[in-house]
Symmetry: C2
Subunit: 383 residues, 2 copies
């Protein structure tokens, strides 16, 4: 049985005084100290990072980690664009399935705000298909196409999308690590400038710096802790890099497949899940995620999003993105997938502080997407 026993996130935001190495090491040390583990107890490290090469001129980050921690253990850097963090946890989970009595760290982080907006936008666009890049599509554009298709097919409006941002900002206010901690209204969202129709600035997650780490173990002496959450499943699926090659565009097939596998492996069903973190890189992303994961019927997401925004913490309702989501908590791409799983861990173990949901949940799901859905990772935890 693999468990998460510790978690730490750095501040997410514009952290001009901290390097990528600084952030990664802060998160590693923070997670270990949160569960009183020494680095000598760690058997391997799984590192999610997307842009080390393109933004920081730093590849072979394995050796950065080894140098800073003064260790010689295996370090694996995985890159799956914005799903790099979720993939690091998924790989760590596989590693623990192969190795008894082991303890590992999955961490992820990104430094994004030290370069120009043009530079970072181009760097992120490398996760789009070569053809999409060649015609000038960037990620706001890619998700805007998905949003246009969804709104038109199911007769929704920009107000329905806005509900997601309103809800996630209200959660973010309670997260001291969040990039943005202020309420926004539907009118605020609608009045914000378009970046790619129908998506506006306030439909969009920001460019952030930050890192996060989880300690994962299958050592029985450690998994018995009251501060442990069990990993019931962690599954990954892939899909075409090109939108144009997909059979449908009103959802992400990779999410659907990874979700079904994760539910099957865990033996759990949607009704068992009390709390979720889903990939709201843009507001449309959260709506698609909840449909693709089987929580809402296809096409009902627009209405459900408004309903959900109306009662964010009512008992008995599914509670989504208490961290603030990518939208308000921020989106340092390699760190996001770790933060999502860490947030579920905090909520399940009653350690979420001001944003702890009233009735401590027993079962949670984290959903992390790479690119426009070329990769999706779904991880289910329980107490």
């Amino acid at each position: 049985m693999n468990s998460i026993i510790g978690y730490y996130s750095t501040q997410f935001g514009e952290l001009w005084k901290k390097s990528l190495d600084n952030l990664l090491i802060e998160s590693f040390n923070g997670a270990l100290s949160q569960c009183n583990i020494e680095k000598e107890q760690i058997d391997a490290i799984f590192l999610g990072n997307m842009l080390g090469g393109l933004v920081d001129s730093s590849l072979l980050l394995e050796a950065h980690i080894a140098e800073l921690l003064e260790v010689h253990i295996p370090v694996y850097r995985v890159e799956a664009a914005c799903a790099s963090g979720g993939m690091a946890v998924q790989m760590a989970h596989e590693y623990l399935l192969a190795h008894k009595d082991s303890t590992v760290v999955a961490l992820g982080g990104e430094k994004m705000t030290d370069v120009s907006a043009e530079h970072i936008t181009q760097a992120l666009a490398t996760a789009a298909s070569p053809t999409e890049q060649a015609v000038g599509l960037t990620f706001p554009g890619v998700y805007a196409l998905l949003a246009q298709i969804y709104l038109k097919k199911y007769h929704y409006t920009e107000e329905h999308l806005a509900a997601i941002s309103v809800k996630n900002h209200s959660h973010g206010v309670l997260n001291e690590k969040a990039h943005f901690r202020r309420y926004v209204t539907v009118d605020d969202v609608l009045d914000s400038p378009y970046i790619a129709y129908p998506l506006k600035v306030l439909d969009s997650s920001p460019i952030s710096d930050g890192a996060a780490a989880v300690v994962m173990t299958n050592q029985s002496s450690l998994t018995k802790s009251s501060k442990a959450a069990t990993i019931r499943s962690s599954e990954v699926a892939t899909d075409t890099i090109s939108l144009a090659k997909r059979g449908k565009l009103d959802g992400l097939l990779a999410t659907e497949i990874a979700g079904k596998k994760a539910f099957k492996t865990s033996g759990l069903k949607q009704k068992d899940i009390n709390i979720m973190e889903v990939h709201d890189c843009f507001s449309i992303g959260e709506i698609l995620a909840l449909e693709d994961l089987g929580f809402w019927k296809k096409g009902q997401g627009g209405a459900q999003a408004q309903e959900m925004a109306g009662h964010v913490e009512s008992k008995g309702n599914l509670i989504v993105n208490t961290s603030g989501g990518l939208k308000a908590a921020g989106h340092p791409v390699g760190g996001t997938g770790i933060k999502q799983i860490g947030e579920i861990y905090l909520q399940l173990t009653g350690q979420a502080g001001k944003r702890q949901v009233a009735s401590v949940p027993t079962c949670g799901l984290a959903h992390n997407v790479g690119g426009s859905g070329g990769v999706a990772v779904v991880t289910i935890l329980s107490t």
Copy 2:
């Protein structure tokens, strides 16, 4: 028991008509067809690539693979600079330890010759430490420092280094997939231009395009094949990214640690190994590798290299880099680690064609290095 049952390498060289995607898919399909496996039998893919972002504007290569193969299975991209391919095999090995009755593919490749020499040199330098990059060190420079230290400390000359290139070129002549297929003499090496003293052009592996793939399985119906080689161990170790932070510079500690672990896990000793592929990115690299792996005593490598070059195929001697090594076979960085393991596989199963060593070996070792030794992977195979 995990086994390798199929292998394919593309041509290595300047392949201007083929893209990275072309090369990766050619190697994947080639490996499957070599062992009559269908893609539907593959459970996961492990992809080693270093420079997709910096040279091809292509991150999230997982989804390139998914699109081209029309699959939705897990694809993991690992980046460990020039050890990316070896790491892909190592991760695939771990995955198989966790999953019974599974078959996976580890592949790796690189497209390096479509950009300027300056561009590719800078891109490769991202695997050096930030300080090393800042002072203008590139990889020829990094390995030249290691070579200077070694020659001075152990009283060797450039002739000793040259022996490695002479031997590996003589092997490369027999490899139809090699980037360079011509003999070179010690004088040729000594007369070639310096790129970073004491290393010359003919001490250095080239910039190459190419890809390679291995099929790995633990399904007993497949591992019984006469064309299967057993993976006895595959281990990885890390070290500082900076040369300046290391306790010694006359060897690579990561190689030493990974080698010791690999011998321990396999239950084998140096004397059991008949054949090896080691990381000769520069001639000094092969000398350090054979010392660090315990085949030669520290400081004896210069003399041993000359001795070895004198009788490359004598029965009873250790035979190193029959593929031609990185020097002659070429060094498409993500593909190299796979090609090394594939070469050992071919030799152990008697499929190495013109370069098959006379007495078919029973036990072989592959050694892959990232950067200046920030990561090392050692994999031991047997019949």
